[in-house]
């Protein structure tokens, strides 16, 4: 049984995994690119080794180098986190071949589920309903895809065969635009996964994206930890997740039915360790298998908050050949959890990525608040990796309490140095459709706008005007070098801090 783990990832998820290992008394090994020398995962790990230059292909995607480091430093297991090498069957196989435990499923399961087309065929055989789309192997050429498209019908989705997280994904409304969209989708897929293959899938409109967390051990036990509501997305990127789903809420019969199907889908590929079955659910509560993510999910914390299960620790126990500590009967969803993905994206400028050094930050704390992050004041947000700064997770006895708690946490959260999407989440928390649980996967893009959201609120332009004026006035005074003497004590340090700013 291993007790030294190499974490083949960066950012918040590397930190999350290091913490789990720490708390299990295991030694941890971080790997990092030249852009991440100051990353928290490097600081928190027992050992850290340089992979190479900043670009992923020269660092976090260098499976050969990662395995070489693991062997050299005596790590006996590798946790891939999510993204990068997490769903690469060949990497998992390479680990096993050199005697390293891979903290994740068998290569065969990754392969089976990793190719979405094969995945759909497999689970369909197991009697699980799937969304209409291209059957057979996923490596169809543009001509084939263009010819089969009308049979599936529009609108439809182009999705990356190796994909996930919306990378290389496109919506097609008419055959005319499909050719150029195929082109850009393949390009993005190539850039993201080094694999430009794509496939087609019917777009179920007004659909919700609801996924089930699966845990399976090597002793044949397979359970689900209930659902996560993931319908709030922008450009197929999840922005907010919650558990339970307000759409299922207390319909336990539906939860168990979907959960059992999810378990069956996992069993269809002899699944082991943690995984997630994604469903599309239409308004009549019909649900279709969408895909299986054969890895830890970004949004796993909401499930941890309501079930009390530490999913990462359970992954490690399973990889060590232990039995799961839970059976289906132990799993109850207690209260309500919501996660907001805090991204370095300018909510007021078309969500353009924002880079730079975080000069100051104030985290929300207190009861029922959890933050998972890999950044801190002084850390540089680089353009090389995704824009996730942190995950803000809250728990409440009810959904209402969770929303109120998230509101105060978002208002408390201060990040200086980069623009973030915190204002987007604040407006979302105030939107009546969100509060009512009335949304589908298109809601954010089609029925939600920052402007409209903000009109709803009682605006305070006069306060903003006063603040802007005071700042401008202060600046003018500084420029004029007016440093008043004999200030009252209370405002002395005010002048001092201005003076400090002048020195910067």
């Amino acid at each position: 049984m291993f007790n030294k783990v190499l974490i083949a990832n960066r950012g918040e998820i590397a930190v999350r995994i290091i913490r789990a290992c720490r708390e299990l008394g295991m030694r941890t090994v971080a790997v990092y690119s030249e852009a991440d020398r100051q990353g928290l995962h490097v600081r928190y790990a027992d050992e850290a080794y340089l992979l190479g230059p900043a670009p992923s292909r020269e660092s976090y995607l260098r499976s050969d180098k990662i395995i070489e480091i693991a062997l050299k430093c005596g790590a006996k297991a590798i946790h891939p986190g999510y993204g990068f090498l997490a769903e690469r069957a060949d990497f998992a196989q390479d680990c096993l071949d050199v005697g390293l435990a891979f903290i994740g499923p068998k290569p065969s399961s990754i392969a089976a589920m990793g190719d979405k087309a094969v995945a759909r065929a497999t689970v369909a055989k197991a009697g699980v309903a799937v969304v209409p789309g291209t059957e057979g192997e996923g490596a169809l050429g543009d001509e084939e895809l263009l010819s089969v498209a009308p049979e599936i019908g529009f609108p439809l989705l182009i999705k990356a065969t190796a994909g996930g997280g919306g990378k290389g994904m496109r919506v097609v409304h008419h055959l005319e635009e499909m050719h150029s969209l195929l082109h850009s989708a393949r390009r993005e897929a190539e850039a993201s996964f080094g694999d430009g293959n794509v496939y087609l899938e019917k777009l179920v409109e007004g659909a919700r994206h609801i996924e089930f967390q699966i845990l399976a051990d090597t002793h044949g036990n397979v359970i689900h930890l209930g659902e996560r509501e993931c319908s709030l997305q922008r450009r197929h990127q999840k922005l907010l997740e919650e558990s339970p789903s307000p759409f299922i809420s207390d319909d336990d019969e539906m939860r168990q039915r979907m959960g059992n199907v999810a378990v069956r889908a996992a069993q269809a590929v002899g699944y082991v360790n943690a995984g997630t079955i994604e469903f599309l659910v239409d308004k009549d509560k019909n649900f279709y298998f969408l895909e299986m993510n054969t890895r830890l999910q970004v949004e796993h914390p909401v499930t941890e908050m309501v079930t009390g299960v530490d999913i990462v620790k359970e992954q490690i126990r399973i990889a060590r050949g232990r039995q799961m500590r839970y059976s289906q009967e132990n799993i109850n969803l207690n209260g309500w959890a919501i996660e907001c993905r805090i991204n370095a994206e300018d909510a007021y400028n078309n969500f353009l990525p924002s880079t730079g050094q975080i000069s100051h930050s104030l985290l929300p704390t207190g009861p029922g608040v959890r933050v998972d992050t890999g950044v801190y004041p002084g850390f540089e947000i680089s353009p090389y990796y995704d824009s996730l700064i942190s995950k803000l997770i809250v728990w409440g006895e009810t959904r209402a309490e969770a929303i109120l708690r998230m509101r105060r946490a978002l208002e408390e959260y201060k990040i200086v140095g980069v623009r973030t999407n915190i204002p987007f989440h604040q407006n979302l928390m105030d939107s009546h459709r969100f509060m009512g649980g009335q949304f589908d996967t298109r809601f954010v893009e089609e029925r939600f706008s920052m402007e409209a959201a903000e009109e709803g609120k009682s605006p305070r332009p006069e306060i903003a005007a006063i603040i802007a004026t005071l700042v401008a006035h202060e600046q003018t005074q500084r420029a004029a070098h007016i440093i008043q003497r004999n200030e009252r004590d209370t405002s002395n340090w005010k002048w001092i801090s201005r003076w400090e700013r002048m020195q910067r």
Binding site: D346, N350, L352, E454, I463, S497, R498
Partner: protein, 165 residues
């Protein structure tokens, strides 16, 4: 010191009497205003009401982020205002617009040619950063000039890509 501050359509006349007192459109208020840890985060106590906001300086003035709402504001003292009135109209509006890279990245493609005329909102350039493809649009109608980059170039933040006249 008297200022004229504009947010949206509305103009506010704000006089700063001293460290502790202002007059907003004729109504006096007690203020206690302070930056937090020397950061562009400000705490305002206005007759006891507590507000906290980010303040960013922008091309045409300031942006105040207050309770999840962004207020673009322009602040002028009376002298400036008279000057601008004399000059007549907003020069920026009439002048040449330079499209600058909002962040470092790779130019994926350029959808316009020099001399081509564009409408407000037309996509000019696709820039890839953080694995996302971002569309850079024209803020106003005009004609494309000074093409400074080509597809495949990697660009620095704020680097000029092209201009619209």
């Amino acid at each position: 010191m008297k200022y004229v501050t504009t947010i949206g359509e509305r103009e506010y006349i704000i006089e700063i009497v001293d460290e502790r007192h202002i007059i907003l459109d004729g109504t006096p208020f007690e203020v206690d205003f302070d930056s937090v840890s020397g950061q562009p985060v400000y705490s305002l106590l206005l007759d006891g009401q507590s507000y906290e906001s980010f303040v960013y300086s922008s091309e045409d003035g300031w942006e105040v982020l207050l309770h999840g709402t962004l207020y673009p504001a322009s602040v002028e003292d009376e002298r400036e205002k008279r000057l601008r009135a004399a000059a007549g109209g907003n020069i920026a509006e009439a002048g040449e617009f330079y499209l600058r890279a909002p962040m470092p990245g790779l130019v994926i493609s350029i959808l316009v040619d020099e001399g081509q005329s564009v409408e407000k909102g037309d996509v000019l350039v696709i820039l890839e950063s953080m694995k996302m493809q971002n569309e850079l649009k024209s803020p106003r109608p005009g004609t494309i000039a000074r093409m400074r980059v080509k597809a495949g170039d990697s660009v620095e933040q704020k680097q000029t890509l092209l201009s619209v006249v």
